[in-house]
Symmetry: D2
């Protein structure tokens, strides 16, 4: 007799847990906090809650529920993010104007869609295509859970009152020295293979030739980055890409996004509010231009994604993710190669591009990844805001060079 | 024995009533509705509630309360609109990012400041300077009551769900024909004189020579304006000021801000939601360029403010203001010269400028009016969103030419 | 026997002289100098030469020459400035991209159109309507002669080499103290009346009531304006209109457009190149916001156009215009009321608006003035770059508040 | 006895020929044509002539001429393009405002610098470092020769008169069908190795693993691209990268930059003026987004630069370059793999990035390439405007995705 749960039962449990986690993350937020959009690239928490629900309603209920009736016919347009194949979209910059539907009504929307998904016939739950879309929806929701935290952090950071998302106290930490780990030249394999869920952009698994290289044993710390800042790194064009120098000039950027100078040094705005900058924790909320400039100043460079993934395959899968509930990166432990997973997304020097043989899915979900493969750079490893079971060593996150509002940091690389 | 209340007792009553009215106006709004800023020129309801309170705390409590302790020291900057003499200001475009302080806390702020004002010693209440600043504060708050309605209307208009501010039903109305009323040439007097409250920009009373002229008996109606629209008025540069033509082109404007075309004609977005355009009600939410273009198309022109005020002095002070609770202009009644007060602000062709001999008050309140006297045009008469006891025939409202989000309409003028 | 020349013979002479003056003014310019557009609001010299010719070809030859053949059919669109009734226009910001037609070809265009105008039959030259359009064309060309100088000055000022337009040396001058001249309150008449040429915006002559006032005896000097600059006038918002303060902040303006700080004081960029700032010459190239701020700082104000014109009628018509060939304002002579004409345009506080009873001409030339009557301010008196026989005491020039590239200065006014 | 010329004599000849070619290319241009800047990314011809001379003066004469005196001390700043290590730069958008120095004076500048270079002592000419900088300067000048043509084409294209750069007639051509050439998977080598001149970004030569792939035998033709246009390719987001769709929407782009619709089909603006679109010639002046969208529509993709270079190594080095004096791409000849060199730059899907082990040169010339390695895409093969002896199979050109003003076209690739 086989007591192990079937895939559809496992999926049901996962569905319930992931959906509940989104609610848990918004618990500290008032209706006002949930409604406002801090910048064009960030979304209100309420919108995140509704859009992830829209995904299940549109791609699952519309197809498998008979007869299907939309929860609210306006939502099809209102909460479509960027799927042209679904039709019209409410313009991205206006997401924060939607004081209606109320947060309460969006919570009801979530509740009703959840019920209807869970009520779908067992035959539906057994269908591979259903399972694969449901998994996509859950992974999609987990991505928005991370965004929900970083979008909210951005919003609070723009408030002169510097409100804290939660009361969690960040304690002082101790540091470890940086060492270098060598990897030989050779043909290596990267990319996703097999049955388990992965986004389409992680496949196919394929061979890449890498030169010999070294990776820093841990992420760059605040203390290390502060030297760059204090020695005039932001004022010397020789460290910067030309476009990065223009960016820094136009933004008037002289230090990382969430650092605040004070008489004795630096504070950092965190989800626990404004705190003293901890020298041993990783420097985060850096854009690509800053990561690249720091690396050049340090006589090193950023790793390629093949270098990163090749190395990540050699270490156990462990890291500090959102499950700890801290939502801030921790100082590195001892080790030859640590912090590869969790703490902070690591900028690579690789432009986001399709792997050889990549094919986008057909239909609307084919718009998930492929159409963004230009003028963005790949980040690897997940962060302290990434759900624990969300990333893989093959996972490819991507953002434009100017993006700073994610927990993005630096792991240095250099020639062997 | 004299039973009439003293001025300070009257003022106390007025203070209580005006402050309560602001709360009443926000009753239909959720915390989310109150927090969001629809455009740079408009403010969130919560901000309006806080800023009007800041005015009393900063200009009255700081001066007369001994010892004075600020309710919250951050508010001095946070809710300063534009008073440079008070110090730093939170930037106008970011008012909508303040999800904290919460609406609840702002309501407490109002409550506490009200209490403290009312607790000020009777001697203070008897001081003429105190009385004059308190009156200014109350008139200031009434201006924000009107803005609160028009800002909220703008916000709701940008929501595809077109939410209604209240359930009030607008019933069909009947129209009256337009006639012209003549006024002879001569030296006339305009401007405020005497003891009663007026803004500094209404004084001094002075002589102006006006040529003979005629005024339309009532405001331009939706039906009249629709002919202009439907006969291609928005597509023919001959009716437009050059800068107006550029404005209309850049905005893609082909009809008034809140009109929506449908198969059988036009809907209008109102504070009661989306309704059929009522042909007999006044056309509102027109910018200066639209008002001027319509007038030229109609073979007429806009009145000067001297022409308007000279005429307004001849009619009884009566009109449809906010007190009715409708917040939408009504169709004109019969009469030789009606709707001069209330229903809709009337664009004049007069650029907003100081009257001869005008002097701004000294100190921070001197920034109230004078510094805006350029590149704006005067509107007269108050609207359906203006508190009933707020305006006078000498009252000078002013907005830039592109502003459309007020209840602004047209009264035609022509040579005698 | 009557030996006085007929009006058409006078006009012929005038035509020849005015057309020749435009060429004379461009003599110091290379083909390169003539082609480039320094800013959207300014035009290349070549464009000015062509557009003024287009005016005669379009409004005169097209109507009176039989049969009419355009010199080049593309020019109708290419050199139309803003006449919608004539049809399409080449977009204003792209005037500087027209390296073809060459300067040489434009000079041939001028020559050919001149010949054809002068060859028109005597009957045509005798027609009042022809005469009136020709006069308009010549006055139009004179306006462009002034623009040609100020546009070229702007272009050269943006060149780090600071090239001089001509070799004329500016010699040091001596100053006279400022006094005030009083004018009583009363009904006065302003505006153009009679047969002689005037632009439509100068009519009709009409009565205005003015309060008693005083005017400064001469223009504000560089020395006076330098005190304002050096005492922090540009850093203190209390002197500025709110919109002016924003303008100054966005522009980073800390002194007049053509002033350059150096170790010992100030240089000024002139059409004679970079020279030491002459303390006794009038401060010029000021925008409305600067003029208004200086006046407030000086405890005075700008005059209205009625005040200015009323005063101008009391002094002999004399002034320093372009005829001197210096193209820079001179220091004031002794006198009760001097420099009313010439030297520098004087900003008035009057918004540019139609006079009571104003009617634009019909047809395309009706677009000459009326459609600009919004958000601009009137300047009076002509400048050192205005042709000597071009202005009148009734002449109304107008520019937006931000415009600084004309020879615009300040005459203070105050209450009597 | 060895009669072959020494390297320094060969270099002298090359110097004379390359410098003369720049003059030859500007022969059809008037001083006006040479002065104007059509867009921020393009430069005036005069500026190109001066900047290439500045390169020799700054990097060679300043170092080897004793004593060195600058031709004109202002030029060091005026004609510095982007070398921060040299000091200040005249801002790029203002290059077109420099009507002075005159074209004539810039020609004298060229002449004088040429003389001084050629007069440098034989010992200097024999120094390897001198030779290497001189070669860099000549290759730099050749790059500007191509830009000079494409910048001028852009300028003329913006003139409604559509002037032709030269009288060369483009004759109708015949076409060849497209076939596919296969390349097997494997480790291949790309990049520059050896003594001959190459830019630093072409090195080091290194191994890359490529999957099996196919390349189109020739460039995409106008006829092929017209099908994409006419079947609505520009109106269907499914073919476009998300950022490309936004670009196309904001630009209002519905066809390639230089195509003009007419009643019977298409014209194309060329350096020979406006001509009928030749169906058999390659489609050019396409941006990355257009190339990528066309490839997706065609069921193919763009090649990577490794794929391209691997293939290019298999064909003889031959192509249609600027030497023919046509400056327009020709129709493809018969062949398995043709047009790899010349005719049109071929967009690759490779983001411009450093090769493994890349090191920028030290000093100012180190700014030549490395600092641009972000958010740009690599183009390969040279064009009809590239000097004949300028490119190599290892040559890496690069432009941002939006750039369309180069002769950039499409070679399709697909999986094997």
């Amino acid at each position: 007799m086989n007591n192990s749960p079937s895939k559809d039962q496992t999926l049901k449990g996962l569905f319930i847990r992931v959906r509940a986690m989104s609610l848990a993350l918004t618990a500290p937020l008032s209706a006002e906090d949930s409604c406002v959009q801090p910048a064009e690239e960030a979304s209100p928490a309420k919108w995140n809650l509704a859009h992830t629900t829209w995904f299940f309603e549109t791609f699952i209920l519309e197809r498998w529920e008979k007869p299907f009736r939309p929860f609210d016919s306006a939502f099809r347009v209102l909460f479509n993010s960027y799927y042209n194949a679904v039709g019209e979209k409410h313009p991205r910059p206006f997401r924060g104007l939607l004081t209606r539907p109320s947060l309460e009504f969006v919570l009801e929307y979530r509740h009703k869609v959840d019920e209807r998904i869970l009520r779908l016939h067992d035959d539906v739950w057994g269908e591979p295509e259903f399972q694969s879309l449901l998994e996509l929806g859950l992974n999609h929701e987990q991505q928005h859970q991370e965004l929900l935290l970083t979008d909210q952090k951005l919003l609070f950071s723009l408030n002169p009152l510097a409100p804290a998302y939660h009361e969690r106290r960040l304690t002082a930490s101790s540091g470890v020295p940086l060492s270098w780990k060598k990897f030989p030249a050779g043909l290596v394999e990267i990319g996703h293979r097999g049955e388990a869920f992965a986004f389409d952009n992680e496949a196919p698994r394929h061979q890449v030739f890498v030169q010999g290289y070294q990776l820093a044993s841990r992420l760059t710390t605040n203390a290390e980055y502060a030297v760059f800042v204090e020695q005039g790194g932001y004022d010397d064009p020789q460290y910067w890409l030309a476009e990065g120098w223009d960016w820094r000039t136009k933004q008037g950027r002289t230090h990382p996004l969430y650092w605040r100078p004070h008489a004795q040094g630096w504070s950092e705005f965190t989800l626990s509010g404004l705190v003293d900058l901890d020298p041993n924790r990783p420097a985060v909320h850096l854009g690509y231009f800053e990561a690249d400039a720091f690396a050049r100043w340090a006589g090193a460079r950023l790793p390629t994604e093949a270098e990163w993934e090749n190395a990540a395959q050699t270490v156990p899968f462990t890291g500090h993710f959102a499950g700890s509930g801290e939502f801030h990166p921790r100082a590195a432990p001892e080790g030859e190669l640590v912090q590869m997973l969790g703490d902070a997304w690591e900028w690579t020097s690789s432009s986001y591009a399709p792997y050889p043989g990549y094919h986008a899915a057909s239909g609307a979900v084919g718009e998930y990844n492929g159409k963004f493969m230009v003028n963005q750079y790949v980040l690897r490893g997940g962060s302290c805001a990434t759900p624990d079971d969300h990333v893989r060593t093959t996972y490819r996150n991507f953002f434009p060079t100017w993006a700073c509002w994610q927990f993005s940091g630096i792991r240095l690389a250099r020639e062997a």
